[in-house]
Symmetry: C2
Subunit: 205 residues, 2 copies
DNA sequence: TAGATTGTTAATCGATTAACAATC
DNA sequence: TAGATTGTTAATCGATTAACAATC
């Protein structure tokens, strides 16, 4: 199969959300024209993106909403539940652990790690905060493959190193630090101040 | 001037962070070769990106760290302070209002809005939470141009509409909703569950 | 069958990278 | 001057879009 560009994956996730809403409304068919109108994408882009991952449509009719929805679930790995480890029980960690969108899509933060004695042992929404020293043990036990790093930048690389040694294969990193990770580990970075900077850059022009 | 691609702006923000650290260490010169090594970019890409916004180097020597740092500050609009309005005093709003990276780069969340009577009137780190109904008045008074939307998806468009009518020109949106905004307003979206989905997609392959 | 719309190919556009002239 | 490195141009690569044959 042709390889799926990252940017296409991001759009698939957006398509999926809208297709789910059509499914809920009981719609049976939808055209690339209609999808494009609603989400402000070109119909040809939608057809191209969808063709990477399967054939969910019927010529002359449009896409079968149910089939499309299931196909997108499958492609994005959302036809199952994922356990996620959260590293860092600060303000950001707290917000992420309560973020409803994760659970809605099958991501469950099932353990939180921190190094602060005042936090270790507490529970947030039923999830225990454990000592970072326990990370390898707990992550291996639970067979966790996805982790979120929400620690200060100066601890981020250390956290990543332990995570990868513990068997984590994909990391979402919120620390403003360019992590060094091995081939085969998927890394996504969200840098909140970079995002704001692109706004101030725009306003400056 | 040639127009500056969004993706280049993002990299400039990364370059800037590293250049600042060189400045702090007292380094006077740095080459695109060295920058590339450190940040894992191609030297030619760095030179191309920097050439969009100015000439900070000297042939045969490298880039003047101080000049480069100031140039990046200026381009990104970080040679000044920005007041930012935060809409939504939930968990995510709380984390954003405490996020140290914003203040470090000159972004000050100077007002928070919510519609919940139990929150209105409280203060977070010295910043008052005000009624959403006061948004047009307060934003105009303070001449705020940048806002962050951290409300549930079903309130996001309404929040955006009020913001734009109040004179806001750039929005960072955390709600998983495709906002309709007029030409001339800069919109950046951060969709936390989409980011996780690209990890689960990777793990599924 | 005629009309509609997918899936795919070809053309276009934009971003990255290599190459190199300019110049310190 | 010789060596180094920028700034910029040209070549390459990859993503978007238009066009259209396939087919319901």
């Amino acid at each position: 199969m042709e390889k799926l560009p990252e940017i296409t994956v991001n759009r698939l996730s957006i398509y999926r959300r809208y297709v789910k809403s059509l499914l809920k409304k009981g719609k049976l068919l939808v055209t690339s024209e209609k999808l494009g109108k609603k989400m402000h994408f070109k119909p040809s882009q939608i057809r191209r993106d969808l063709s990477y991952v399967g054939q969910f449509g019927e010529r002359g009719k449009g896409y079968n909403v149910k089939k499309l929805s299931q196909g997108l679930d499958k492609t994005l790995g959302l036809d199952r539940k994922w356990q996620v480890a959260l590293v860092g029980a600060g303000n950001l960690g707290r917000a992420l652990s309560a973020y409803p969108g994760f659970r809605q899509h099958g991501f469950k933060i099932s353990v939180i790690f921190d190094n602060s004695p005042t936090k270790i042992g507490k529970t947030w929404l039923g999830v225990e905060i454990r000592d970072i020293k326990q990370m390898p043990k707990v992550i291996k036990e639970k067979k966790i493959k996805i982790a979120i790093i929400a620690v200060p930048y100066f601890s981020a690389q250390q956290a990543a190193d332990i995570l990868m040694r513990s068997g984590v294969k994909a990391i979402l990193n919120f620390a403003p630090y360019k992590l060094a990770v091995p081939e085969g580990l998927k890394l996504k970075n969200i840098d909140l101040s970079t995002e704001l900077q692109s706004l101030s850059c725009f306003l400056t022009k």
